[in-house]
Assembly symmetry: C2
Homo-oligomer: 204 residues x 2
Protein backbone atom coordinates (compact mmCIF):
# COMPACT_ATOMS: atom_id res chain seq x y z
CA UNK A 1 0.00 0.00 0.00
CA UNK A 2 1.23 3.48 -0.72
CA UNK A 3 2.03 5.44 2.41
CA UNK A 4 -0.18 8.34 1.39
CA UNK A 5 2.39 10.49 -0.32
CA UNK A 6 0.67 12.81 -2.79
CA UNK A 7 2.15 12.65 -6.29
CA UNK A 8 1.60 16.37 -6.82
CA UNK A 9 1.41 19.28 -4.40
CA UNK A 10 -1.14 21.67 -5.90
CA UNK A 11 -0.81 25.44 -5.80
CA UNK A 12 -4.28 26.00 -4.41
CA UNK A 13 -3.35 28.12 -1.41
CA UNK A 14 -4.49 25.40 1.01
CA UNK A 15 -2.43 23.84 3.78
CA UNK A 16 -1.96 20.06 3.79
CA UNK A 17 -4.36 19.89 6.72
CA UNK A 18 -7.01 21.86 4.85
CA UNK A 19 -6.65 19.63 1.84
CA UNK A 20 -6.67 16.55 4.05
CA UNK A 21 -9.98 17.48 5.62
CA UNK A 22 -11.61 18.51 2.38
CA UNK A 23 -14.96 16.76 2.01
CA UNK A 24 -14.93 14.21 -0.78
CA UNK A 25 -17.26 13.19 -3.56
CA UNK A 26 -16.63 9.53 -4.34
CA UNK A 27 -18.10 7.60 -7.28
CA UNK A 28 -18.19 3.80 -7.51
CA UNK A 29 -19.04 2.76 -11.03
CA UNK A 30 -18.34 -0.06 -13.52
CA UNK A 31 -20.05 -3.27 -14.56
CA UNK A 32 -19.34 -5.38 -11.47
CA UNK A 33 -21.32 -5.81 -8.29
CA UNK A 34 -18.84 -4.44 -5.76
CA UNK A 35 -19.98 -0.82 -6.15
CA UNK A 36 -22.53 -0.64 -3.36
CA UNK A 37 -20.65 -3.19 -1.29
CA UNK A 38 -17.54 -1.01 -1.23
CA UNK A 39 -19.64 2.06 -0.42
CA UNK A 40 -21.11 0.33 2.62
CA UNK A 41 -17.65 -0.85 3.65
CA UNK A 42 -16.51 2.78 3.53
CA UNK A 43 -19.53 3.74 5.65
CA UNK A 44 -18.37 1.21 8.27
CA UNK A 45 -15.15 3.15 8.73
CA UNK A 46 -17.05 6.42 8.85
CA UNK A 47 -19.37 4.99 11.52
CA UNK A 48 -16.37 4.08 13.66
CA UNK A 49 -14.90 7.56 13.17
CA UNK A 50 -18.13 9.07 14.55
CA UNK A 51 -19.33 10.45 11.22
CA UNK A 52 -23.17 10.47 11.00
CA UNK A 53 -24.34 8.37 8.07
CA UNK A 54 -27.27 8.96 5.74
CA UNK A 55 -28.12 6.24 3.21
CA UNK A 56 -30.44 6.99 0.29
CA UNK A 57 -31.36 4.01 -1.85
CA UNK A 58 -32.48 4.66 -5.40
CA UNK A 59 -33.32 1.10 -6.30
CA UNK A 60 -34.67 -0.09 -9.58
CA UNK A 61 -35.86 -3.50 -8.50
CA UNK A 62 -37.34 -5.12 -5.44
CA UNK A 63 -33.88 -6.29 -4.36
CA UNK A 64 -33.25 -4.03 -1.41
CA UNK A 65 -29.89 -4.31 0.27
CA UNK A 66 -31.47 -5.92 3.32
CA UNK A 67 -28.19 -7.21 4.73
CA UNK A 68 -26.52 -3.83 4.81
CA UNK A 69 -29.69 -2.19 6.09
CA UNK A 70 -30.02 -4.59 9.04
CA UNK A 71 -26.35 -4.35 9.93
CA UNK A 72 -26.28 -0.55 9.78
CA UNK A 73 -29.50 -0.26 11.74
CA UNK A 74 -27.90 -2.52 14.38
CA UNK A 75 -24.87 -0.19 14.42
CA UNK A 76 -27.21 2.79 14.76
CA UNK A 77 -28.75 1.15 17.84
CA UNK A 78 -25.26 0.49 19.25
CA UNK A 79 -24.64 4.22 18.94
CA UNK A 80 -27.93 5.11 20.64
CA UNK A 81 -27.26 2.72 23.51
CA UNK A 82 -23.52 3.17 24.10
CA UNK A 83 -22.45 6.32 22.28
CA UNK A 84 -19.98 4.27 20.24
CA UNK A 85 -19.77 5.06 16.54
CA UNK A 86 -22.30 7.38 14.93
CA UNK A 87 -26.01 7.69 14.12
CA UNK A 88 -27.35 6.02 10.99
CA UNK A 89 -30.33 7.20 8.90
CA UNK A 90 -31.60 4.85 6.18
CA UNK A 91 -33.91 6.13 3.44
CA UNK A 92 -35.51 4.13 0.67
CA UNK A 93 -36.80 6.38 -2.05
CA UNK A 94 -40.43 5.75 -2.94
CA UNK A 95 -40.49 2.84 -0.53
CA UNK A 96 -42.49 0.01 -1.95
CA UNK A 97 -42.13 0.76 -5.62
CA UNK A 98 -40.01 -1.12 -8.06
CA UNK A 99 -38.68 0.32 -11.28
CA UNK A 100 -38.83 -2.98 -13.08
CA UNK A 101 -41.41 -5.26 -11.59
CA UNK A 102 -44.56 -3.44 -10.54
CA UNK A 103 -47.16 -1.51 -12.47
CA UNK A 104 -46.83 2.26 -12.49
CA UNK A 105 -46.03 4.99 -14.91
CA UNK A 106 -42.56 6.26 -15.64
CA UNK A 107 -43.70 9.65 -14.36
CA UNK A 108 -44.36 8.19 -10.90
CA UNK A 109 -40.85 6.79 -10.71
CA UNK A 110 -39.35 10.02 -11.94
CA UNK A 111 -41.31 11.91 -9.30
CA UNK A 112 -40.16 9.49 -6.60
CA UNK A 113 -36.54 9.92 -7.64
CA UNK A 114 -36.86 13.71 -7.71
CA UNK A 115 -38.44 13.61 -4.26
CA UNK A 116 -35.44 11.64 -2.97
CA UNK A 117 -33.03 14.10 -4.52
CA UNK A 118 -34.98 16.99 -2.95
CA UNK A 119 -34.58 15.33 0.48
CA UNK A 120 -30.83 14.97 -0.10
CA UNK A 121 -30.61 18.67 -1.01
CA UNK A 122 -32.44 19.62 2.20
CA UNK A 123 -30.15 17.40 4.28
CA UNK A 124 -27.02 18.80 2.62
CA UNK A 125 -28.21 22.36 3.23
CA UNK A 126 -28.89 21.55 6.89
CA UNK A 127 -25.63 19.52 7.22
CA UNK A 128 -27.68 16.64 8.61
CA UNK A 129 -25.11 13.90 7.93
CA UNK A 130 -21.35 13.60 7.53
CA UNK A 131 -21.40 10.81 4.94
CA UNK A 132 -24.11 10.37 2.32
CA UNK A 133 -24.39 7.04 0.51
CA UNK A 134 -26.48 7.68 -2.63
CA UNK A 135 -26.93 4.09 -3.72
CA UNK A 136 -27.68 3.51 -7.42
CA UNK A 137 -28.12 7.24 -7.89
CA UNK A 138 -26.52 7.15 -11.34
CA UNK A 139 -29.66 5.58 -12.81
CA UNK A 140 -32.15 8.44 -12.26
CA UNK A 141 -29.47 10.71 -13.74
CA UNK A 142 -29.00 8.42 -16.75
CA UNK A 143 -32.75 8.34 -17.34
CA UNK A 144 -33.06 12.10 -17.11
CA UNK A 145 -35.22 12.06 -13.97
CA UNK A 146 -32.64 14.06 -12.02
CA UNK A 147 -30.56 16.73 -13.72
CA UNK A 148 -26.84 15.96 -13.71
CA UNK A 149 -25.78 19.59 -13.87
CA UNK A 150 -27.92 20.36 -10.85
CA UNK A 151 -26.42 17.43 -8.92
CA UNK A 152 -22.89 18.58 -9.76
CA UNK A 153 -23.72 22.13 -8.76
CA UNK A 154 -25.36 21.16 -5.45
CA UNK A 155 -22.46 18.87 -4.56
CA UNK A 156 -19.90 21.53 -5.44
CA UNK A 157 -21.59 24.16 -3.27
CA UNK A 158 -22.52 21.95 -0.29
CA UNK A 159 -21.56 23.53 3.05
CA UNK A 160 -19.33 22.16 5.81
CA UNK A 161 -17.64 18.77 5.80
CA UNK A 162 -20.03 16.39 4.13
CA UNK A 163 -18.72 13.40 2.20
CA UNK A 164 -20.84 11.93 -0.59
CA UNK A 165 -20.54 8.47 -2.18
CA UNK A 166 -22.55 7.75 -5.33
CA UNK A 167 -22.86 4.25 -6.76
CA UNK A 168 -24.20 2.82 -9.99
CA UNK A 169 -23.23 1.92 -13.54
CA UNK A 170 -22.62 4.43 -16.25
CA UNK A 171 -21.66 7.48 -14.15
CA UNK A 172 -22.11 10.62 -16.27
CA UNK A 173 -18.80 12.18 -17.38
CA UNK A 174 -19.80 15.44 -15.66
CA UNK A 175 -20.21 13.57 -12.38
CA UNK A 176 -16.85 11.81 -12.87
CA UNK A 177 -15.27 15.20 -13.57
CA UNK A 178 -16.76 16.67 -10.39
CA UNK A 179 -15.73 13.72 -8.20
CA UNK A 180 -12.58 13.59 -6.11
CA UNK A 181 -12.31 9.81 -6.21
CA UNK A 182 -13.70 7.45 -8.83
CA UNK A 183 -13.33 3.67 -8.59
CA UNK A 184 -14.40 1.36 -11.36
CA UNK A 185 -15.25 -2.24 -10.50
CA UNK A 186 -14.23 -4.51 -13.34
CA UNK A 187 -15.31 -8.07 -13.87
CA UNK A 188 -12.49 -10.54 -14.17
CA UNK A 189 -14.41 -13.74 -13.52
CA UNK A 190 -17.88 -14.40 -12.22
CA UNK A 191 -19.77 -17.53 -11.16
CA UNK A 192 -22.73 -16.43 -13.33
CA UNK A 193 -20.49 -17.52 -16.19
CA UNK A 194 -20.53 -21.02 -14.75
CA UNK A 195 -24.29 -21.10 -14.36
CA UNK A 196 -24.51 -20.14 -10.69
CA UNK A 197 -27.01 -17.63 -9.35
CA UNK A 198 -26.31 -15.17 -6.55
CA UNK A 199 -26.39 -16.42 -2.97
CA UNK A 200 -28.21 -14.80 -0.09
CA UNK A 201 -25.79 -13.27 2.38
CA UNK A 202 -22.86 -13.42 0.00
CA UNK A 203 -23.74 -11.76 -3.27
CA UNK A 204 -26.90 -9.87 -2.38
CA UNK B 1 -28.75 -4.88 -12.52
CA UNK B 2 -29.06 -8.31 -14.10
CA UNK B 3 -31.86 -10.35 -12.58
CA UNK B 4 -29.55 -13.22 -11.81
CA UNK B 5 -30.03 -15.24 -14.98
CA UNK B 6 -26.97 -17.43 -15.56
CA UNK B 7 -25.51 -17.06 -19.04
CA UNK B 8 -24.69 -20.76 -19.20
CA UNK B 9 -26.26 -23.78 -17.53
CA UNK B 10 -23.38 -26.17 -16.92
CA UNK B 11 -23.65 -29.92 -17.32
CA UNK B 12 -22.18 -30.67 -13.91
CA UNK B 13 -24.95 -32.94 -12.62
CA UNK B 14 -25.90 -30.38 -9.93
CA UNK B 15 -29.34 -28.90 -9.35
CA UNK B 16 -29.74 -25.12 -9.48
CA UNK B 17 -30.13 -25.21 -5.71
CA UNK B 18 -26.91 -27.14 -5.24
CA UNK B 19 -25.03 -24.74 -7.47
CA UNK B 20 -26.65 -21.81 -5.73
CA UNK B 21 -25.42 -22.94 -2.33
CA UNK B 22 -21.94 -23.84 -3.54
CA UNK B 23 -19.39 -22.18 -1.28
CA UNK B 24 -17.45 -19.46 -3.10
CA UNK B 25 -13.85 -18.36 -3.30
CA UNK B 26 -13.83 -14.63 -4.05
CA UNK B 27 -10.73 -12.56 -4.90
CA UNK B 28 -10.61 -8.75 -4.75
CA UNK B 29 -7.52 -7.52 -6.51
CA UNK B 30 -6.29 -4.54 -8.54
CA UNK B 31 -4.43 -1.32 -7.83
CA UNK B 32 -7.18 0.60 -6.05
CA UNK B 33 -8.12 0.76 -2.39
CA UNK B 34 -11.64 -0.68 -2.53
CA UNK B 35 -10.46 -4.30 -2.25
CA UNK B 36 -10.69 -4.72 1.52
CA UNK B 37 -13.55 -2.25 1.75
CA UNK B 38 -15.69 -4.35 -0.57
CA UNK B 39 -14.73 -7.52 1.31
CA UNK B 40 -15.94 -6.02 4.58
CA UNK B 41 -19.11 -4.80 2.87
CA UNK B 42 -19.72 -8.38 1.75
CA UNK B 43 -19.12 -9.56 5.32
CA UNK B 44 -21.88 -7.17 6.47
CA UNK B 45 -24.39 -9.03 4.35
CA UNK B 46 -23.07 -12.36 5.60
CA UNK B 47 -23.42 -11.16 9.20
CA UNK B 48 -27.06 -10.33 8.58
CA UNK B 49 -27.64 -13.71 6.96
CA UNK B 50 -26.37 -15.41 10.14
CA UNK B 51 -23.10 -16.60 8.60
CA UNK B 52 -20.28 -16.71 11.22
CA UNK B 53 -17.41 -14.46 10.17
CA UNK B 54 -13.68 -14.98 10.63
CA UNK B 55 -11.35 -12.13 9.63
CA UNK B 56 -7.61 -12.77 9.24
CA UNK B 57 -5.52 -9.68 8.60
CA UNK B 58 -2.18 -10.16 6.88
CA UNK B 59 -1.06 -6.55 7.06
CA UNK B 60 2.19 -5.18 5.83
CA UNK B 61 2.17 -1.87 7.67
CA UNK B 62 0.97 -0.49 10.99
CA UNK B 63 -2.24 0.70 9.35
CA UNK B 64 -4.72 -1.74 10.80
CA UNK B 65 -8.27 -1.47 9.55
CA UNK B 66 -9.43 -0.09 12.90
CA UNK B 67 -12.75 1.20 11.59
CA UNK B 68 -13.86 -2.14 10.24
CA UNK B 69 -12.53 -3.93 13.30
CA UNK B 70 -14.49 -1.73 15.73
CA UNK B 71 -17.68 -1.93 13.68
CA UNK B 72 -17.51 -5.71 13.29
CA UNK B 73 -16.69 -6.22 16.95
CA UNK B 74 -19.75 -4.09 17.77
CA UNK B 75 -21.81 -6.34 15.47
CA UNK B 76 -20.35 -9.40 17.20
CA UNK B 77 -21.54 -7.99 20.54
CA UNK B 78 -25.00 -7.32 19.06
CA UNK B 79 -25.10 -11.02 18.15
CA UNK B 80 -24.03 -12.10 21.64
CA UNK B 81 -26.61 -9.86 23.28
CA UNK B 82 -29.61 -10.25 20.99
CA UNK B 83 -28.98 -13.25 18.76
CA UNK B 84 -29.28 -11.00 15.70
CA UNK B 85 -26.75 -11.56 12.94
CA UNK B 86 -23.77 -13.85 13.51
CA UNK B 87 -20.61 -14.22 15.60
CA UNK B 88 -17.46 -12.38 14.49
CA UNK B 89 -13.87 -13.51 15.12
CA UNK B 90 -11.09 -11.03 14.30
CA UNK B 91 -7.48 -12.21 13.96
CA UNK B 92 -4.44 -10.08 13.31
CA UNK B 93 -1.53 -12.19 12.22
CA UNK B 94 1.65 -11.60 14.24
CA UNK B 95 -0.14 -8.82 16.12
CA UNK B 96 2.18 -5.94 16.72
CA UNK B 97 4.59 -6.47 13.87
CA UNK B 98 4.82 -4.39 10.76
CA UNK B 99 6.24 -5.56 7.48
CA UNK B 100 7.51 -2.17 6.53
CA UNK B 101 8.21 -0.04 9.56
CA UNK B 102 9.70 -2.02 12.44
CA UNK B 103 12.95 -3.90 12.86
CA UNK B 104 12.80 -7.65 12.42
CA UNK B 105 14.07 -10.26 10.02
CA UNK B 106 12.19 -11.38 6.97
CA UNK B 107 12.16 -14.88 8.47
CA UNK B 108 10.09 -13.67 11.42
CA UNK B 109 7.49 -12.18 9.11
CA UNK B 110 7.43 -15.29 6.96
CA UNK B 111 6.93 -17.39 10.10
CA UNK B 112 4.12 -15.10 11.28
CA UNK B 113 2.38 -15.37 7.92
CA UNK B 114 2.74 -19.16 7.89
CA UNK B 115 1.36 -19.32 11.41
CA UNK B 116 -1.68 -17.34 10.27
CA UNK B 117 -2.18 -19.64 7.31
CA UNK B 118 -1.88 -22.68 9.62
CA UNK B 119 -4.66 -21.22 11.79
CA UNK B 120 -6.86 -20.73 8.74
CA UNK B 121 -6.26 -24.34 7.71
CA UNK B 122 -7.27 -25.55 11.19
CA UNK B 123 -10.41 -23.39 11.12
CA UNK B 124 -11.35 -24.59 7.63
CA UNK B 125 -10.87 -28.23 8.68
CA UNK B 126 -13.06 -27.64 11.77
CA UNK B 127 -15.62 -25.57 9.77
CA UNK B 128 -15.27 -22.85 12.39
CA UNK B 129 -16.63 -19.99 10.26
CA UNK B 130 -18.97 -19.58 7.30
CA UNK B 131 -17.15 -16.63 5.72
CA UNK B 132 -13.39 -16.09 5.88
CA UNK B 133 -11.98 -12.67 5.03
CA UNK B 134 -8.26 -13.17 4.33
CA UNK B 135 -7.26 -9.53 4.12
CA UNK B 136 -4.10 -8.74 2.12
CA UNK B 137 -3.37 -12.44 1.90
CA UNK B 138 -2.00 -12.10 -1.64
CA UNK B 139 1.22 -10.53 -0.30
CA UNK B 140 2.60 -13.49 1.69
CA UNK B 141 1.88 -15.58 -1.41
CA UNK B 142 3.65 -13.11 -3.68
CA UNK B 143 6.67 -13.11 -1.40
CA UNK B 144 6.83 -16.89 -1.25
CA UNK B 145 6.06 -17.09 2.47
CA UNK B 146 2.92 -19.12 1.85
CA UNK B 147 2.78 -21.64 -0.99
CA UNK B 148 0.16 -20.75 -3.63
CA UNK B 149 -0.37 -24.35 -4.73
CA UNK B 150 -1.01 -25.35 -1.14
CA UNK B 151 -3.53 -22.52 -0.70
CA UNK B 152 -5.36 -23.52 -3.89
CA UNK B 153 -5.40 -27.15 -2.83
CA UNK B 154 -6.65 -26.41 0.70
CA UNK B 155 -9.37 -24.11 -0.63
CA UNK B 156 -10.46 -26.64 -3.24
CA UNK B 157 -10.76 -29.43 -0.67
CA UNK B 158 -12.34 -27.47 2.17
CA UNK B 159 -15.36 -29.21 3.71
CA UNK B 160 -18.93 -27.97 4.11
CA UNK B 161 -20.19 -24.53 3.11
CA UNK B 162 -17.37 -22.09 3.83
CA UNK B 163 -16.98 -18.95 1.73
CA UNK B 164 -13.53 -17.37 1.42
CA UNK B 165 -12.69 -13.83 0.31
CA UNK B 166 -9.05 -12.98 -0.37
CA UNK B 167 -7.90 -9.39 -0.91
CA UNK B 168 -4.67 -7.80 -2.10
CA UNK B 169 -2.84 -6.66 -5.18
CA UNK B 170 -1.25 -8.98 -7.67
CA UNK B 171 -3.33 -12.11 -7.10
CA UNK B 172 -1.43 -15.12 -8.45
CA UNK B 173 -2.89 -16.54 -11.70
CA UNK B 174 -3.33 -19.92 -10.00
CA UNK B 175 -5.47 -18.26 -7.31
CA UNK B 176 -7.49 -16.40 -9.95
CA UNK B 177 -8.01 -19.68 -11.79
CA UNK B 178 -9.19 -21.39 -8.59
CA UNK B 179 -11.57 -18.55 -7.63
CA UNK B 180 -15.28 -18.48 -8.45
CA UNK B 181 -15.48 -14.69 -8.48
CA UNK B 182 -12.69 -12.19 -9.15
CA UNK B 183 -13.22 -8.44 -9.00
CA UNK B 184 -10.54 -5.98 -10.00
CA UNK B 185 -10.66 -2.48 -8.56
CA UNK B 186 -9.40 0.00 -11.12
CA UNK B 187 -8.34 3.56 -10.49
CA UNK B 188 -10.18 6.11 -12.56
CA UNK B 189 -9.42 9.23 -10.54
CA UNK B 190 -7.97 9.70 -7.09
CA UNK B 191 -7.50 12.72 -4.81
CA UNK B 192 -3.85 11.71 -4.28
CA UNK B 193 -3.37 13.02 -7.80
CA UNK B 194 -4.52 16.43 -6.59
CA UNK B 195 -2.17 16.45 -3.63
CA UNK B 196 -4.60 15.24 -0.99
CA UNK B 197 -3.75 12.61 1.60
CA UNK B 198 -6.17 9.96 2.88
CA UNK B 199 -8.70 10.97 5.53
CA UNK B 200 -9.45 9.08 8.73
CA UNK B 201 -12.88 7.49 8.62
CA UNK B 202 -13.20 7.86 4.90
CA UNK B 203 -10.20 6.42 3.15
CA UNK B 204 -8.55 4.41 5.93
Amino acid sequence: MPQGKPSVVPEDGLTTRQRRNRPLVVVHTGEMKGKSTAAFGLALRAWNAGIPIGVFQFVKSAKWKVGEESAFKALGRVHEQTGEGAPVAWHKMGEGWSWTQRPGTEEDHAADAREGWAQIQRDLAAETHGLYVLDEFTYPMTWGWVDVDEVVSVLRDRPGTQHVVITGRGADPRLVEAADLVVEMTKVKHPMDAGQKGQRGIEW
